[in-house]
């Protein structure tokens, strides 16, 4: 088990190294440097710039050094805890990223707090009686909601609750400090898209358990149905959904981009998109590292959880 975790962690570091090197190489192209110059000095100023003064601008920014040297410097800085500097926001990346991650963390907390009970209950209800009306209607609802992409459900919710009824604010920029009301629409958007998938997987897992021998035995020996479901079926049926829910963390980091941009919520996704478009290299780098770390760590957690919950499975 420990060996497996170690192997995964080594793999994670390797992936981080490869991807950050690739990103550095990508953002080192002349076009990207030019774009950065245009962002900083303005398009007109850049076109009026002589070759000489452009070169001196590059030198002032430290961009004239070959990228492998800059990469080595950057890796050194990362290892000493310095994540770099954001040209666009004009502040160090570390605190900026921490701020935005905290915002996305709040969003994610409420998404999971709502999505987990909702999807598990619906999935169990559907899987309990496979093929029943209850099952069919829950399955249909979950296909329907997963078919509405985040951008469309964001629009539907905004049009109904913000523009039509006027109950909730249209944007979630949180200008006047943290406001719970502004958080409702982004959270709902993400929950609506995601709960159907988890519910369907829970249903499949539950339906499989319900057809197994020990459940039939339990029913045949006259145990109340409630007790069979609660005490016997759930324990095994919830193993697969648990690992799946942990893996949703990875999905959430992709999903938040469009939601945060649409609702103008200052989180990780919006930061990443703005940085990539600017191009704010060191911010993109830091965001990618965080994303890869979250992806690999959630995989490790889900593996450990799986082993822990299911004693039949032991890793070498």
């Amino acid at each position: 088990m420990l060996k497996l975790i170690l192997r995964r962690l080594v793999q994670m570091v390797l992936i981080m190294a490869v991807s950050s090197l690739l990103l550095f190489a990508i953002f080192d192209t002349p076009e990207f440097k030019k774009r950065l110059a245009v962002q900083e000095l303005g398009g007109f100023a850049v076109s009026a710039l002589t070759e000489e003064s452009y070169k001196s601008w590059l030198a002032a920014r430290g961009l004239d050094v070959p990228f492998y040297q800059r990469y080595a410097n950057w890796v050194g800085n990362i290892l000493s805890g310095d994540l770099g500097f954001s040209y666009e926001k004009n502040r160090p990346v570390g605190p900026l990223l921490a701020d935005r991650l905290a915002n996305t963390g709040i969003l994610a907390f409420f998404v999971f707090a709502l999505m987990i009970p909702l999807s598990l209950i619906l999935g169990i209800l559907a899987g309990m009686k496979e093929g029943s009306l209850q099952d069919r209607s829950i399955s249909f609802i979950s296909v329907l909601t997963t078919s509405i992409p985040e951008i469309a459900s964001a629009i539907l919710l905004t049009v109904i609750f913000a523009l039509g009824l006027g109950w909730l604010p249209v944007k979630s920029a949180m200008i006047g400090g943290f406001s719970f009301r502004e958080l409702i629409l982004p959270v709902l958007t993400l929950v609506i898209y995601d709960f159907g998938y988890v519910a369907r997987m829970t249903r499949a897992s539950m339906a499989e358990v319900m057809t197994s021998q020990y459940i039939r035995t339990a029913i045949l020996k006259g145990l109340p149905y409630r007790r069979v479901v609660m005490r016997h079926a759930l324990r095994n049926a919830l193993i697969a959904p648990f690992t799946l829910i942990v893996l949703q963390l990875n999905w959430l980091l992709s999903g938040v981009v469009v939601v945060e941009v649409f609702f103008e919520y200052d989180g990780f996704g919006k930061l990443l998109l703005e940085a990539a478009l600017f191009p704010d290299v060191e911010v993109v780098q830091a965001c990618t590292l965080v994303a890869v770390a979250v992806a690999v760590l959630s995989q490790i957690i889900s593996d450990i959880g799986y082993t822990f919950l299911n004693p039949r499975i032991r890793f070498a």
Partner: protein
């Protein structure tokens, strides 16, 4: 003991020489539509004649599809949704619609009349007819979405077959690269790739391939590992067939079933991805109509109850197409479990 002759299998040419009607019809629909969307502007005003054979082909394909899926009501509903948009895509130039790019009357609400013209779904902030933009908008999503999914499948299936069948070093290398790509959140990968290549339809194909091929590769690899121990594969090996022949003609046709269900789901994901990326400004570019672009443009101007139709129309359109793909996948899975 007499040496028994090993019977030789059908040659590669034999296997290819009987095209199925479904494939012919699909090509008849698909090639003109793709050519029209990708090169229509270069061909000029007569480009729409390209689409003439595609209209009957689409209808015939729909009839064949309904007959094949009739066991599952869900699949037929999904098929109908998808083919409604396909039919709209191939017949858009022949429908009595206004020019989707021509400003007529700005901010006309749905079911209103302006200057003798009736607007079913109103007009957008520039005064372009929403109905016509909605119908024309499905062309690019369908063409780029399906093309991207197909390319991702070709690449993913190829690597999956190689790493599953040949195993060894091939497997190690391919699996490592796939793991690297899979450990990026999809959106991060999209943003990085499209930001580097620049936003366009072709680059969306590249980005979707990078994002989807590793997952497809894993599925195909698993299936190939299972199938390569079957007797017919041993038979082909004994005949001395080339590994490439075995991969394409023995393994590939037998992994088809699970792959088709996954492909329907993935078509849905790709449609979501294209619309989302276009909304973020990384996908298809103006002025041609596209659902993601319609949302992007109206999200800045139409944040009022009165103008919410500008956002609702593309949002509902894209949802219905994705629902179609998902229902088709659902019905197919149900049908494959039944037999």
């Amino acid at each position: 003991m007499a040496v028994t002759e090993i019977p030789s299998g059908p040659s590669a040419l034999d296997r290819l020489s009987r095209p199925k009607p479904v494939i012919v019809l699909f090509l008849l629909m698909w090639v003109p539509l793709t050519a029209y969307v990708m090169f229509g502007q270069r061909i000029g005003p007569n480009a729409q004649t390209l689409l003439l054979p595609a209209i009957p082909a689409t209808l015939a394909l729909y009839v064949l599809g309904v007959r094949a899926f009739r066991e599952s009501r869900v699949a037929v509903i999904g098929l109908t949704l998808v083919f409604f948009w396909l039919l709209m895509a191939v017949s858009a130039p022949y429908l009595p619609l206004m020019d989707p790019n021509k400003p007529v009357a700005p901010f006309a609400t749905p079911f209103s009349e302006r200057g003798g013209l009736f607007f079913w779904l109103g007009t957008d902030f520039k005064g372009r007819d929403m109905l016509s933009r909605m119908i024309w908008g499905c062309q690019r999503v369908l063409v780029w979405g399906v093309t991207a999914t197909m390319v991702a499948y070709v690449v993913g299936a190829m690597f999956g077959l190689i790493s599953g069948y040949l195993a060894g070093w091939w497997d190690e290398i391919i699996s490592f690269v796939a793991n690297v790509l899979l450990s990026f959140p999809v959106m991060v990968l999209f943003i990085v790739i499209l930001n580097y290549l620049g936003p366009s339809g072709f680059n969306i194909v590249v980005a979707v391939t990078f994002a989807s091929a590793p997952a497809i590769m894993r599925i195909v690899r698993g299936l190939a590992l299972d199938i390569k121990t079957r007797d017919y594969v041993y038979a082909a090996q004994t005949r001395g067939e080339h590994p490439l022949y075995i991969m394409i003609f023995e393994l590939l046709p037998n992994v088809r079933g699970p792959i088709i269900v996954d492909a329907c789901l993935r078509l849905g994901y790709t449609t979501v991805a294209i619309t989302t990326l276009t909304f973020l400004g990384l996908g298809l570019q103006p002025p041609d109509p596209d659902w993601g672009l319609m949302i992007r443009e109206s999200a800045k101007t139409a944040m009022l109850w009165k103008f919410s139709y500008m956002l609702l129309v593309p949002a509902l359109a894209v949802s219905s197409l994705i629902l179609g793909f998902n229902l088709m996948a659902d019905g197919l899975r149900e049908m494959s479990l039944r037999d």
